[in-house]
Amino acid sequence: MNTSIVSEQQHRKLHPHKFALWVAIASILMMFAGLTSAFIVKSNQAGWRTFVLPGIFWVSTVLILASSLTMLMAIKAFKSRGMRQYRGLLGITFLLGAAFVICQVIGFNQLWNSNVQFKGASGAGQFFYAIAGLHAVHVIGGVIALLVIFLKSIAGKTKSYDAVPVEVMGMYWHFVDLLWLYLMIFFIILG
């Protein structure tokens, strides 16, 4: 049984799942565009408070960049049928992703302890919690997906060499990575 939903003539086009992910990415981007433009509008108003980004966010940046790299290599391994290598790299990507989330949480805590809190006056810090928090939620979604396809690849039932699911995973993962880079630069310049 063919598990592809595309018919012959559609093979030349972008796979519908990849296409759907592109649209979803556009949609998620709109949410963050909304939030960051809200930030810009607000930062021009009186009573705005800035904050200093704790250093640990640099660590998480390195982690997520590295995870993008391992994801790339995992897909390459998959395509050249190096399944053992693929599994290993996927596992590393998963661990790096999880480590990223942990670093974010630690960073939020440090920020909180340096007296950037929810109560009282508005400011960059409050936006940072909301925006970076929402980003972390998207990463957690990706980490869970990574875990699922990792476990599937170990369980070994899948004889499938269909690269589409893995590529879709990779696309999403690079997206959350680039999104974080954008947010990091945004907060360094404007925070």
Binding site: I5, A26, L35, A121
Partner: protein, 601 residues
């Protein structure tokens, strides 16, 4: 369930082998009617849920119209049903605000967005582009169930101790952010936000599917410019939704922060009951920007599908090709782009820089151009046509009439100087109920009457359909036309009791008339609902595959299509969707190859 999915896949990938795989698997009650992945069943689920919500939302308006029409009267029956919300048979202020808020929320989002797009995108996209199902039937099912969950949460908010959200359908802070400020800003508001979050998730899942199905799953020969206009309209609707709903979500997330974590995104220098709150530096206007960035596209999310439905129904029942097919697509596209650029016309009186205001005036008035093009093309399509006045056709013509009336008042409001006088008056209520509420309902009714045979293999009752149409169009104008005068006189919207203004005394009997008409028109809608359910089981049977002599692909499927739509191969398409009255032939289906000496269109 996964079985269904696999067979579905098998069907799609063997689309050209010619074997009917469709009936191989047994469907259980649950997989067929509840957790169905068949787009046609999901469409019906959306429609029935939408109908239930429409009855609830409509009933709310009857209730608050009682207050507006007869402010001095008491209705003991209200106390029987609503207890302390209507003590002594009079609607309490909190109840009134809850009713108007829920009326707006339910009808705009649950009925005219989910109920409308959900029904017709699901029903028509695969059938008209020639696909076995959506790109992802599973996500499609999830979309419905997210909507269902949103419905349950919203419904449950009606039964909380402090009642549902009550700050208007736009839930502006600071009111909506401060539980201390009103009854309706307590738990009902949280449930509102949760329900809307689920709702947005449902819309995104649906929209993703609609877009990728239209762009990726068209049958052989179905180029984009051969698509029926319904599909184009649904495509732009989905694009608008996918790009604007997330922005609403971001606004709601910040609202939740302000409500529960003490942040000051929207709050600043506020006193509640004489107590100063610690919030500083927030801006309530920020919320308005985020809200209307969705809010304006949202109104086009509501109207664009009905533009598509009306285009199709008008052409079929005039037996003429649609006039200006390309112009119709271009104007949909222009509306789609402009819809993102005009949101601040809802905010002319928020202290916006007048220069900025004038930019938004210009962009807003530009929307009148594509809208006018569409209207012109619809009228030209039916002009000297061989018109069949089916109920669907009547509603489609009514749609055009009402869209014109309401669009004209938009031009008043779009001028910021006039809007200073008209903002937040009954004029705005009249404008958007006519241009969006009533005309979208007309488009939706047209669609239901027209595609009912495809949905259920039966016709709806025509006589009831004619009564439905005539009573509804007369009542709609009777209700909303006079509201313009009230608005010109400065009568504010959302007010419970205007008796302290002597000058509004002149409108007492007018308001009473509007209320009486509202009750009549509500009853007639119940008659429509009766017609719908009665015809589902007892309606006249459809005997031919193509009862309307239409050209599009959905009428090449069996009268009761199974999951997979076509028994054999998916037909190939050779021409556009509007070959009516061509070369002396009444209509030529899209599946017929172009003849040798056929004239080109």
């Amino acid at each position: 369930m996964s079985d269904t999915l696999h067979i579905q896949h098998g069907v799609a990938s063997h689309g050209h082998s010619g074997e009917p795989h469709v009936h191989h698997h047994k469907e259980t009650f649950i997989s067929k009617y509840i957790f169905s992945m068949d787009h046609k069943m999901i469409a019906k689920q959306f429609l029935v849920t939408g109908i239930i919500w429409a009855i609830i939302g409509g009933l709310f308006s009857v209730l608050f119209r009682l207050q507006l029409g007869f402010p001095d009267q008491s209705f003991p029956i209200l106390e029987t049903f609503f207890g302390r919300w209507a003590e002594g048979g009079k609607i309490k202020p909190e109840f009134y605000y809850a009713l108007t808020t829920m009326h707006g929320t339910v009808l705009i989002f649950f009925v005219l967005t989910a109920g409308l797009s959900g029904t017709f995108a699901n029903l028509l996209i695969p059938l008209q582009v020639g696909a076995r199902d959506m790109a992802s039937p599973f996500m499609n099912m999830l979309s419905y169930w997210m909507f269902f969950a949103a419905s349950i949460v919203m419904l449950s908010s009606l039964f909380t101790q402090t009642g549902p959200a009550a700050g208007g359908w736009t839930v502006y802070p600071p009111l909506s952010a401060l539980g201390l400020a009103s009854q309706g800003s307590k738990s009902g508001m949280d449930l509102w936000i949760i329900a809307m979050t689920l709702f947005v998730a449902s819309q995104l899942l649906g929209g993703l599917n609609y877009i990728s199905t239209i762009l990726n799953m068209r049958t052989k020969g179905m180029s984009m410019t051969r698509l029926p206009l319904t599909i184009w309209a649904l495509l732009f609707t989905a694009i608008l939704g996918v790009l604007s709903f997330p922005v609403l979500l971001s606004g709601l997330v910040l609202l939740m922060f302000d409500r529960h974590l003490g942040t000051s995104f929207y709050l600043s220098d506020i006193f509640v009951a004489g107590q100063a709150l610690p919030n500083e530096g927030g801006s309530a206007i920020l919320y308005q920007h985020l809200f209307w960035f969705l809010g304006h596209p949202e109104v086009y999310i509501i109207i664009m599908p009905t533009m598509g439905l009306a285009s199709e129904i008008l052409a079929i029942n005039s037996r003429k090709p649609i006039f200006g097919y390309m112009a119709m697509i271009a104007s949909l596209m222009a509306i789609c782009v402009l819809a993102f650029l005009v949101w601040a016309h809802h905010m002319f009186v928020t202290g916006m820089n007048p220069f900025l205001g004038s930019v938004f005036v210009l962009l807003t008035l530009l929307i009148a151009i594509p809208s006018a093009i569409k209207v012109f093309n619809w009228i030209t399509t039916i002009w000297r046509g061989n018109i069949r006045f089916t109920p669907g056709m009547l509603f489609a013509i009514g749609f055009v009439s009402i869209f014109i009336s309401g669009g004209l008042t938009g031009i008043f409001l779009g001028n910021s100087t006039i809007d200073i006088h008209l903002h937040d008056t009954m004029f705005v209520i009249a404008h958007f109920h006519i241009v969006m509420g009533v005309s979208a309902f007309f488009g939706m009714f047209a669609g239901i009457y027209h595609w009912f045979p495809k949905m259920f293999g039966r016709y709806m009752n025509n006589t009831l359909g004619y009564i439905h149409f005539w009573v509804t169009i007369v009542c709609a104008y009777l209700i909303f036309w006079p509201m313009h005068y009230q608005g010109f006189a400065g009568m504010p919207r959302r007010y419970l009791d205007k008796s302290s203004w002597v000058s509004f005394g002149q409108f007492h009997s007018l308001d009473a008339m509007i209320t009486v008409v509202t009750i009549i028109v509500f009853a007639v809608q119940l008659m429509f609902v009766f017609n719908y359910f009665y015809s589902m089981y007892k309606g006249r049977r459809v005997r031919t595959q193509n009862p309307w002599d239409a050209t599009t692909l959905e009428w090449t499927t069996p009268i009761h299509p199974g999951h997979g739509n076509w028994d054999g191969e998916i037909p190939e398409v050779h021409r556009w969707a509007y070959d009516y009255g061509k070369d002396g032939r009444d209509f030529i289906p899209q599946t017929e190859p172009v003849g040798e000496n056929e004239s080109s269109h």
